[in-house]
Point group: C3
Chain length 292, copies 3
């Protein structure tokens, strides 16, 4: 009975890790990504004033992870743009989200139950990208463990890691922060995921890759769905990170956690320090509505 369960889980994981991402999962990824772009203050005006800049930002949101990974591995940064169907699908999503009459498409996909499903699907793609990035780097550098982590990390984080330059494209410049200086939950999770997948690739983890993909996907999807549903931006890693940083790097204890859950009034106006995926849903929607 026990063996059967294990077999079934292995088979399930195997099937899950072979499942194609295009078009359903990729579509969800594009929708959620471009919705996050629309949340950005000023992005609606840019879409009116310069559709080319807006389209380019949307492409960075959808394909930033491929662009960064290709740069890291010395390939052409526009290599992924040879997949015309992906680009066209993402462009259609961009058009619908920004220019659909009555803002209908945007209202549909940000309706909470639908959004939760899309967010969960996006995390499936993210996990697969991390695994693929680590595998790709392993192929190019057999013992380049740092390179594997870096490529997996950029594949998981995508546009967040180049947010300063993506904002610059829209005429916004916030040099005082960046995604590495104050990591959001998805970026952190991508880093930890990239480390896990690298350890798996180096045979330091006693687990098959398909199981790891399944487990990490479940963790990411659950976390993001709960965070989106509760409009929260606390990280599940906060407590353990706070202790490890205190022990290893002498960071003041609990600052990571406190900073997220009970921000002191003095920190309140520092909204640019909050990363894009961390803003509470309410604030975002109000901003977007005002902009239209």
């Amino acid at each position: 009975m026990d063996i059967l369960t294990v077999l079934n889980l292995g088979d399930l994981a195997q099937a899950f890790s072979k499942m194609g991402m295009f078009p359903v999962f990729d579509l969800a990824y594009y929708i959620v990504s471009i919705v996050y772009l629309k949340y950005e203050p000023g992005s609606v005006e840019v879409s009116r004033r310069s559709p080319v800049a807006s389209w380019l930002c949307a492409m960075l949101y959808c394909f930033g992870s491929y662009i960064l990974a290709d740069i890291m591995l010395g390939s052409s940064p526009v290599d992924y743009f040879q997949h015309n169907s992906h680009i066209l699908l993402a462009s259609a999503v961009w058009y619908l989200i920004f220019y659909c009459p009555l803002n209908l498409f945007y209202k549909c996909v940000t309706f909470l139950p639908i959004k939760l499903v899309l967010v969960a699907l996006k995390e499936v793609v993210r996990t697969r990208k991390i695994a693929a990035g680590v595998h790709h780097a392993h192929h190019a550098y057999h013992h380049g463990f740092f390179i594997m982590v870096i490529v997996g990390y950029v594949k998981g984080s995508g546009v967040a890691l180049m947010s300063n330059f993506e904002q610059l494209l829209r005429g916004v410049w916030r040099p005082e922060t960046n995604e590495i200086l104050s990591m959001s939950f998805p970026t952190k999770a991508s880093l930890y995921g990239a480390i896990l997948f690298t350890m798996q690739e180096a045979h330091w983890l006693p687990v098959s890759k398909s199981i790891l993909i399944l487990g990490f996907t479940l963790f990411m999807a659950t976390s993001k769905v709960v965070m989106t549903a509760r409009h929260s931006h606390g990280s599940p890693f906060a407590l353990i990170e706070s202790w490890i940083c205190h022990l290893l790097f002498g960071s003041p204890l609990g600052v990571g956690e406190e900073d997220h859950h009970h921000p002191p009034p003095a920190v309140a106006p520092s909204s640019p320090l909050k990363t894009k995926e961390e803003l509470s849903e309410g604030a975002r929607k109000r901003k977007v509505k005002k902009a239209e």
Copy 2:
């Protein structure tokens, strides 16, 4: 009689599209590009204070399109610098324009009749670069239509697309605008040209490449010569763009045109929003003279 005309036109276009660009046309390209660099406020001081930075900017102005295209296709960004004679010629032009005694060379090449010829020759090079860029990308990605447009576009626009970083090299930082957010006429024309050449390469246009090169060159040279002669910066695309943007992207009607021809007083001080090739000649010359 009619067939003969067509034959002759075809032959002419064929011969024109085979004509070598080095050194006459390239020389004109370097001269006009570096004159535009000298128009930039502060560039004369930089040339006195740090000749290396000034030389590097001049190289970006002359070879920015090659650098960007090489980056896009994953080659070495300094690949073009292996052509020593081109670099030496551009360096000589840079030296003469910035350091010639009595500013003699600069005064000669900016004498309007000479400048109009040089501007026309520059557009010949630009068109050939767009065609070569699209062809090169087609060679690397047979069905990568987006890549073809992107590479043709960066080949035509050159340094304009990286103007923020070129300015940074001279210690100037204007994050509130960039060439994609507010495209100048040559950048826009390069985009449309890249789309046309991509369509030709994909056999969606019933016209030969040499005819397209001839036609586009004539259009670009005429437009730029007229614009330079009239010190105008209105775009011939303004009306049709304004309508298309209104229909497709809900942009307010006529804003593109109005913005260029009758700027409201409140927008007047926002000169950094004007792109470098769009400043009226008079204003530029005054600035350059003052700086010397």
Copy 3:
């Protein structure tokens, strides 16, 4: 007797140019580089707040030259990260310099006699990097003299050339200056070194490469040790540069020298214009102490 001396010098130079850099010399390079990172205002706070950003900056300080050279030659920018032992050694140095209890390691390595030895060893590595960079570029582009100079230059200058972006990673943005606009002594020397090694590679210098390496190393080590010991930032090139710039580029005579040795009071607050390696040691140490 005379021939023997020459033979011995040739042999010595040959042996010196074949000497392995790892781990002793590389260790010195990492230590001095990361000490310079700690001198940077704000870097200690970053190391407490975001260890990942601090580690990444440290890696840029240690391996920036490899990253830039790889970018210039179109390889993967993280190519050097396949050398796990180098990365681990640099990471250990970073950890000890930033997080060692009682700041013990930092105090040891910045104790002047020890620091002078480390600084000398660092210059040995720098010279070897320039030579290797020029050689590497020569291998890729046989007659690309400009490319050889560029690659040798970035190999010698390393992180200095991307200091604007390295600072951005720490949330600091100083667009008004950069290493090309106001070159520090090591950057200038790297440029001149790259030109010398390129001339040697092109057989325009009647001297063997090993002799050139030995001579340039001695010059660099002596200069940097004297400058570090005297807390000076005057360049040995100042006088000759000032004359050449005056003759060739019409720069006002002696401005380079005066600017460094007797800064007028009005320029005093412009400290961001000073490059990181040029700050007086006293000022640096005070800053670092305050930050802890």
